[in-house]
């Protein structure tokens, strides 16, 4: 049979958010090339803001769309749009954090020339120089574009491309810290190597699944799982490898090893962006793969995911207890949260889907704001991230300490904060989905996480400040605004979550 290739019907309107972000990224590259160095930063911020706000507007206008476009490769449906909207807002917040210049004495968290050898004479000079670089803006935009494509991919090859588009800029950005360059570069290399492995796993999984289903389209994979097949081995191995790739990105145990190092080493604004946005995008993709492609093969993946969820919750919570660095602690806490979100994923019911979407949004805002607070506490050598340096912060700057305490309360899931509503949503869904043991492990892990969050509060409020402790820098409107919005969302979603819950519930249907 001769191979016939029909050109697919290309509908551009439903993918407008993606087009806008990628378009903005291209413009941003051109700005790098043609705008004078002095004015580049301002122009880049405007381009990023316009791109991301434009994407958000497009998402709002597209609300309610449910269709497969580009030869069924891209699914524009509730979860896609919900996550794209969330990513646009959080991405903008992340870009604003990157644009902060009033905290570091020499301006910006990002090193001006990353190629300079750390520790060299040039590097020492660079640390004091007020040079800035703006390549980080196009990198962030490309990464965000990839993130927005990731949960929309209904085709495994496209999903792989999205994975690479979102990951490659992040590997670079992780190595750009202005202070503690070696740590940052080490983080970047680790992230890159492990990420490359994960991508390879993902790709191998795609190949095996193609062997199983004869297609890389999630709808076809679903159809294939419905037929009686003899080559189930391909399905098992392919599914497992695919999921390994995705679990790496969400930071689930046993694929979490990179999280603390990268979170600690990367410039904090980049960490914030990564912690909030990458997790959202990767969970979006995971949801689509498991709910759409393997919704009928649940017996093949749910037992495995049970084990991973339990491990992730326990390991994340327990290891976080032993951390002495704020960023590493938040990293392990993000691992524990991955476990909690997995409870919603495993539920495999509409409540699970909407609960997971809600959790991602709530967690994204809280964690972004938490990292933003971390950027404020500084001593002469940059950010003071060792926990002992945070002692007595409550006396020195009650406002910052109280803000951080509220954010930690939200992360701990204290009632009247977004974290509680979110946890309640996924645990209820898990319970309904028959995952009662998971819920019980979840509440126990929550109790453990409460310990280290509370310990920070103890340090900040009940301990005396060390004499040479760090100071809290006054941020510009960028960081202050991000923290304010993050805090407001964390509280509003705890006190009056209904509108967003409705939004998530309305969005909780995949097309395939």
């Amino acid at each position: 049979m001769p191979l016939e290739i029909t050109s697919p019907d290309l509908a551009y309107a439903p993918i407008a958010p993606l087009l806008i972000v990628f378009g903005a990224a291209l413009v941003s590259v051109l700005v790098e090339a043609f705008v004078s160095a002095r004015r580049r930063r301002e122009v880049q911020i405007v381009v990023c803001a316009l791109g991301l706000i434009g994407a958000l507007v497009a998402v709002v206008l597209l609300a309610g769309t449910e269709e497969l476009v580009f030869a069924k490769a891209i699914a524009v449906d509730g979860p896609t749009l919900f996550l794209q909207g969330t990513l646009a807002v959080l991405g903008l917040a992340g870009v604003l954090l990157l644009s902060e210049r009033s905290l570091d004495s020499s301006g910006g968290a990002v090193v001006a020339r990353a190629q300079v050898l750390p520790g060299s004479r040039e590097d020492v000079a660079l640390a004091e120089a007020t040079e800035i670089q703006t390549e980080v803006y196009p990198l962030a935009l490309f990464s965000l574009g990839g993130m927005m494509l990731f949960p929309a991919s209904n085709n495994l090859i496209l999903m792989f491309i999205a994975l690479e588009v979102l990951s490659l800029p992040l590997y670079l950005m992780a190595g750009l810290a202005r202070r503690r360059r070696l740590l940052s570069q080490e983080a970047a290399v680790k992230y890159f190597l492990l990420g490359a492995f994960a991508s390879a796993f993902f790709l191998y999984g795609v190949a095996l699944l193609y062997g199983y289903a004869g297609s890389v389209d999630l709808g076809d994979v679903l159809a294939a799982t419905g037929r009686a097949q003899s080559n189930e081995g391909l399905l098992f191995v392919g599914l497992a490898m695919l999921v390994v790739g995705l679990l790496f990105k969400v930071g689930a145990v046993p694929f979490q090893a990179w999280t603390p190092d990268v979170y600690q080493g990367a410039p904090t604004p980049v960490t914030a962006l990564m912690a909030a946005c990458t997790k959202i995008a990767a969970f979006g993709a995971l949801l689509r793969v498991l709910y759409v492609g393997f919704g009928r093969a649940e017996w093949d993946w749910r037992p495995m995911m049970w084990g991973i969820a339990i491990l992730t919750m326990i390991v994340g919570a327990v290891l976080a207890v032993t951390q002495t660095d704020v960023k590493r602690m938040l990293a392990y806490s993000s691992v524990a949260h991955t476990g909690f979100i997995l409870v919603g994923v495993i539920a495999l019911n509409p409540d699970g889907l909407s609960g997971t979407l809600f959790y991602l949004l709530a967690y994204g805002f809280t964690t972004l704001a938490s990292f933003a607070v971390v950027t404020l506490v500084r001593d002469s050598s940059g950010e003071a991230t060792h926990l002992s340096q945070w002692a007595g912060l409550g006396r020195k700057s009650p406002l910052v300490a109280a803000t951080f305490a509220l954010l930690l309360a939200a992360l701990a899931g204290i009632p009247l904060t977004s974290g509680f509503t979110a946890k309640f949503a996924v645990f209820t869904a898990g319970y309904e989905g028959g995952a009662v043991p998971l819920v019980i492990v979840g509440v126990i892990a929550s109790a453990i996480t409460a310990f280290f969050y509370a310990r920070v509060v103890v340090l900040m409020f009940f301990s005396e400040a060390p004499p040479d402790g760090p100071t809290v820098s006054v941020p510009s409107a960028y960081t202050a605004g991000v923290i304010g919005v993050g805090l407001a969302v964390s509280l509003v979603l705890g006190i009056a979550p209904q509108p967003v819950l409705d939004l998530a519930a309305d969005a909780s249907r995949f097309v395939y």
């Binding site: 006396r395 204290i414 209820t428 509370a454 409020f461 009940f462 819950l501 409705d502």
Partner: protein, 550 residues
């Protein structure tokens, strides 16, 4: 789904302290006197409003009154639903009485360098004996040098009042849970910021125990919701949850989630270990509210949630819980006797008292449960008074050790007298209010579990020992005061005003408890009915009727 009846007293009661808090926070930092007056005034307004609400409460009317229900988070079937039955009402009244008392008693707590810090500097190497009570805490803990914010202290107290009223008023299990957890936060800061030398350890322990229990309860709350969703519409409304048919194994699982949370809160043996630390390190006002009210949420929870929602599980597990209660009564009393730290001693006496309350509840008799509810109120009054007077003494002597004091009665007769009266109330002397409750609990227990009642009576004897011995050691004999002190002043007017209402209530309710029992009885009957239990029939032999009625 919006129903309202009568004036929304409960919401108003909850809002007044919040309004007071906002006013308080808006005041300039320097005007400390004004801040205190505002806090006191707010709490007095709550008291007046509570009295009006109690007057409006019709004991013969509906079980839940002042009810309100508005949708809060329809996605989860959560409502803002409040309502008070007799049990909740008397506990809210207890809050309304205790908060102004506590504010008055804490008037100067934030002014001076807090006594606890001085204890450590005066006697740096005091090894507080068995309890290690006055040892300096973690190494980073230096004696504090700065004064703490007055505003924050009283704001925390008022916020706590709102939470406490909310937790008793909620008739939606989710709302109850929210208040149950949220209540921890102001108390955590009260202990951690204003407490004794080991305050940060005590605050952490308090928070973690309560939070762990609360999270187990959360699992059960979710379980209840899912069961209700299986049998129709998912809901948290108490009156609908009571009607659910739950299979016995599920009941036991869900019961345990609630029970452990409440048992930690109450605290029952063996979940009590946080209380002596928290009670000893908390500022006096905080300790009064902690033991007087917060802990009552646990026993209130047994009565309101465990028994009616899980009747089968309560029946099956009840005898085991009675055993725990009896152990708690004896253990608490014995350990109390061995304490060297006055505040730890009072905390341990509470462990014993909570054993009595738990026993009364799980005995499943009307007398026992009425006695238990009365006990909750009376314990709040008597232990509250005991903590206050002990706090006054400690504020004067800057030491919490019993052995540092002797013969105080000679120079401070009013202090000694109030201490004695509060102590006598704590040991349930006839004529004081606690006697009636303890008697009812024992009577109610005896008719179903005579052996348990017999053992519990030993607790009464032990109570006399630990109270009278303490009184004898500290107040009688040759005058001795902590190092560096030659004399201490007797209670002054503010302190007398703070403690007098509690003492007066003890005596009045001891002689004439009818207003309370009238309100409590219908609610207890309703609880018994929900739990599907009836009193054992009285027989000639009394104790022979101990076999469970059904």
């Amino acid at each position: 789904m919006e129903t309202t009846s009568q004036f929304p007293w409960l919401t108003v009661l909850g809002l007044i302290p919040l309004v007071g808090t906002v006013v308080l926070l808006a005041l300039p930092r320097r005007k400390e006197q004004l801040q205190k007056v505002v806090a006191l005034a707010t709490s007095l307004v709550v008291l007046v409003a509570t009295i009006l609400a109690c007057a409006a409460f019709d004991p013969t009317g509906d079980r839940f009154q002042f009810t309100q229900a508005y949708d809060w988070i329809p996605a989860f079937g959560v409502q803002y639903a409040v309502g008070a039955d007799g049990i909740a009402l008397v506990l809210i009244a207890l809050i309304a009485v205790l908060v102004p008392v506590v504010i008055l008693a804490s008037w100067h707590d934030t002014d001076t360098v807090v006594p606890a810090a001085a204890t450590t500097s005066v006697e740096p190497d005091v090894d507080g004996g068995g309890a290690g009570s006055t040892r300096i805490g973690s190494p980073h803990e230096a004696p504090r040098s700065k004064r703490r914010s007055v505003k924050a202290f009283f704001a925390l107290l008022l916020v706590l009042e709102t939470m406490m009223i909310g937790v008793f008023a909620a008739t939606d299990v989710f709302l109850f849970y929210v208040f149950f957890e949220a209540m921890l936060i102001p108390m955590y800061f009260l202990i951690g910021s204003y407490g004794g030398p080991r305050r940060s350890y005590a605050a952490m322990k308090f928070l973690l125990f309560s939070l762990a229990g609360g999270l187990l309860m959360l699992a059960s709350v979710i379980g209840l919701y899912v069961v209700s969703a299986d049998q129709g519409e998912g809901t948290f409304a108490f009156e609908r949850l009571v009607e659910l048919e739950i299979s016995t194994p599920v009941q036991i699982a869900l019961f345990l989630g609630f029970f452990i949370a409440f048992a930690i809160k109450a605290p029952l043996f063996p979940f009590h270990t946080w209380l002596p630390d928290a009670g000893a390190e908390a500022p006096v006002g905080g300790a009064v509210l902690l033991v007087g009210v917060l802990d009552k949420v646990g026993t209130f929870g047994f009565l309101r949630y465990c028994l009616p929602l899980f009747p089968d599980a309560s029946r099956i597990l009840g005898p085991y819980i009675i055993v725990l209660c009896v152990i708690g009564i004896l253990y608490g009393a014995l350990v109390a006797m061995g304490q060297k730290d006055l505040k730890r001693l009072i905390s341990y006496t509470s462990v014993a008292h909570f054993g009595f309350i738990g026993m009364g509840i799980f005995a499943f008799t009307t007398q026992g449960q009425t006695g238990a509810v009365l006990y909750m109120v009376n314990h709040g009054l008597s232990t509250g008074a005991l903590f206050l007077v002990a706090g006054f003494l400690i504020a004067r002597g800057k030491s919490r050790l019993i052995e540092d004091y002797s013969g105080v009665a000679a120079i401070a007769p009013i202090l000694a007298g109030t201490f004695l009266l509060a102590g006598l109330s704590s040991l349930a002397l006839p004529g004081l209010s606690t006697f009636i409750s303890e008697f009812l609990v024992l009577l109610g227990t005896y008719s179903r579990y005579p052996v348990a009642a017999v053992f519990a009576v030993l607790g009464v004897v032990l109570a006399a020992l630990y109270i009278l011995l303490t009184y004898q050691r500290t107040m009688q004999g040759k005058l001795r005061l902590p190092a560096g002190l030659t004399s201490i002043k007797d209670l002054h007017l503010r302190e007398v005003l703070a403690v007098a209402p509690l003492l007066a209530l003890m005596i009045v309710l001891g002689v004439y408890p009818k207003p309370l029992t009238d309100v409590i009885n219908p609610a207890v009957d309703a609880t018994m009915q929900d739990a599907g239990r009836t009193d054992p029939a009285p027989t000639q032999g009394g104790g022979d009727a101990a076999a469970p009625a059904r």
